[in-house]
């Protein structure tokens, strides 16, 4: 399959212009920022609090915003125009995901600065946050492709966001309900685990399983997204 940086960048540029005029997106981004400001006033911000906000950024921006921009393209019939143009699947989804990647990472960074989060190893934690972001964007893309409108996407995104971003809140229930043990393998749980390990001096070699699980989620979400996109390319 061909890939043109120019076409991907054209879609990225269009989305930057479009999103800058989209109040729905800008107000969604404010939610984690407002909560980060609130937490920053506390005497002590625990690791769980830091990652509650980081996961909220993933949920609100990575999943919610990405699903909304894809669903809007479908709702307004503009995605069909892109699909009929020379732009290929990686160019269209790459261009659209790049905007969300920039927005999500910027929101995470601002929130971390506001809350004074200073990881023991910036490379490892930064890398883990970046690859986690890929997963949430793929998830948002999938939700957007599966729905027909922004409203529908918002509804479907809520439980998806809840499970993937805040699943760690239910870790304590695993002993009582073993069926919930899958929660341990959620990317959000793996990210928090990794961040805590890093604070105790863990290096990359100690953390490969966390990275591998997160990467497996990325592969799964990307494959599903590609399959659904191909299916949507053809009407029936």
């Amino acid at each position: 399959m061909t890939f043109s940086m120019k076409r991907m960048y054209a879609i990225f540029q269009k989305d930057v212009r479009d999103l800058s005029k989209n109040m729905y997106i800008t107000t969604t981004m404010l939610m984690p920022l407002a909560l980060a400001i609130f937490y920053s006033t506390m005497d002590e911000v625990t690791m769980d609090m830091h990652y509650l906000i980081i996961n909220l950024c993933f949920a609100a921006v990575g999943v919610f915003v990405q699903s909304a921009i894809i669903a809007e393209e479908k709702e307004k019939n503009t995605l069909r125009g892109l699909m009929l143009s020379p732009a290929t699947l990686p160019e269209i989804l790459g261009g659209k995901s790049l905007v969300t990647l920039v927005l999500t990472m910027a929101t995470v960074l601002i929130c971390a600065l506001l809350m004074g989060y200073e990881p023991a190893n910036y490379m490892i934690v930064g890398g883990a946050i970046l690859i986690s972001c890929f997963f949430y964007i793929a998830l948002g893309t999938l939700v957007g492709l599966l729905t027909k409108s922004v409203v529908e996407a918002s509804v479907l995104a809520l439980p998806v966001m809840f499970i993937f971003s805040f699943g760690s809140l239910f870790l304590t229930l695993i002993e009582e309900y073993p069926i919930l043990s899958f929660i341990e393998y959620l990317p959000s749980v793996q990210l928090v685990e990794l961040a805590i390990e890093v604070e105790t001096g863990a290096v990359f070699a100690d953390l490969w399983s966390n990275f591998a699980i997160i990467l497996a989620w990325i592969v799964l979400a990307s494959l599903l997204t590609a399959v659904v996109y191909k299916k949507k390319e053809m009407d029936a």
Binding site: G81, S85, A87, D235
Partner: protein, 282 residues
């Protein structure tokens, strides 16, 4: 002349409903081909199959000599354009920004934006947001977008539906100009006036089957009654047979100053459609 589109025994079945059945036609290079039929006759289904948006159940559909379903490579997509009455534009962006995106996607220099906007008479509105445009203007922007890369083949699905006559005329002029420059046009419409004024050949599609296919003038002649209608000074109309028999009376009435106007009794494409299919074009 080379065929750009070739369709043989094409069929499409949705569940237990047949949308297209045993459809055969071809479109020559440089031709404006009209696919006419009422709503639900299978026009849009045909365009979707030809542009690779929909798979077909059986038969063959090829465009540029390749199976339509395989036209998904960038170099193939650059060869055709598609306009429907709901071709999406980005509402929050200006006309110029919408076109700029497609210039980059089709690898066309931005200078082309001015040229296509000139063609659709929207040069002054280029900075206007699409959300502020009328339906007619939006359709003209859609046409401008499809013209950016000067496609070899343009698919138009009801391009002027819901447009007022002035806007339709504008679109028609743009299409004629494009066709003069060599673009092959495949047009679906239920507007017979539009078909008569634009198409070199037309196919009548009814309930998923082509019932008639020929040049509009040939069809009109074939279904003509061979009579002439005279409008007289006293306000009455009379119908006379064509040929020698009627010619004498026409001459006499003209000579005596009774005739206001003379009309041949050629049917419109709409009349022919009703005669052939028993259905109105709505």
């Amino acid at each position: 002349m080379e065929n750009i589109i070739e369709v043989t025994s094409l069929a499409k079945i949705f569940g237990n409903q047949t949308a297209l059945e045993d459809v055969h036609f071809s479109v020559k290079k440089g031709e404006t081909f009209g696919f006419l039929g009422p709503s639900g006759s299978g026009k849009t289904t045909t365009i979707k199959i030809l542009t690779g948006q929909l798979s077909h159940t059986s038969g063959k559909a090829s465009v540029f000599g390749k199976p339509a379903a395989t036209l998904n490579k960038p170099q193939d997509r650059k060869r055709f354009g598609v306009i429907t009455d709901n071709s999406g534009l980005y509402q929050r962006l200006s006309i110029e920004d919408n076109l700029k995106l497609y210039c980059n996607l089709y690898d066309v220099p931005s200078i082309r934006i001015s040229e296509v906007l000139e063609m659709v008479s929207l040069s002054k509105e280029r900075k206007k947001n699409v959300a502020k445009l009328s339906k007619g203007m939006i359709q003209r922007v859609t046409l401008a977008r499809a013209l950016l890369h000067e496609p070899e083949l343009l698919f138009l699905d009801e391009p002027t539906s819901a447009l007022d006559p002035a806007n339709s005329k504008h679109i028609h002029e743009g299409l004629r100009e494009l066709n003069r420059k060599g673009t092959t046009i495949f047009l679906t419409t239920h507007d017979m006036g539009e078909a008569e004024s634009l198409c070199d050949r037309v196919a009548f599609l009814n309930k998923g089957r082509i019932q008639l296919l020929d040049e509009p003038k040939t069809l009109r002649r074939q279904f003509a009654e061979n009579t002439v209608l005279l409008e007289l000074q006293d306000g009455s109309n009379i119908t006379l047979p064509g040929g020698q028999e009627g010619a004498k009376e026409v001459y006499e009435r003209m000579a005596s100053g009774q005739v206001v106007s003379i009309h041949s009794n050629e049917p419109t494409l709409g009349d022919i459609f009703v005669e052939v299919t028993g259905r109105e074009l709505v």
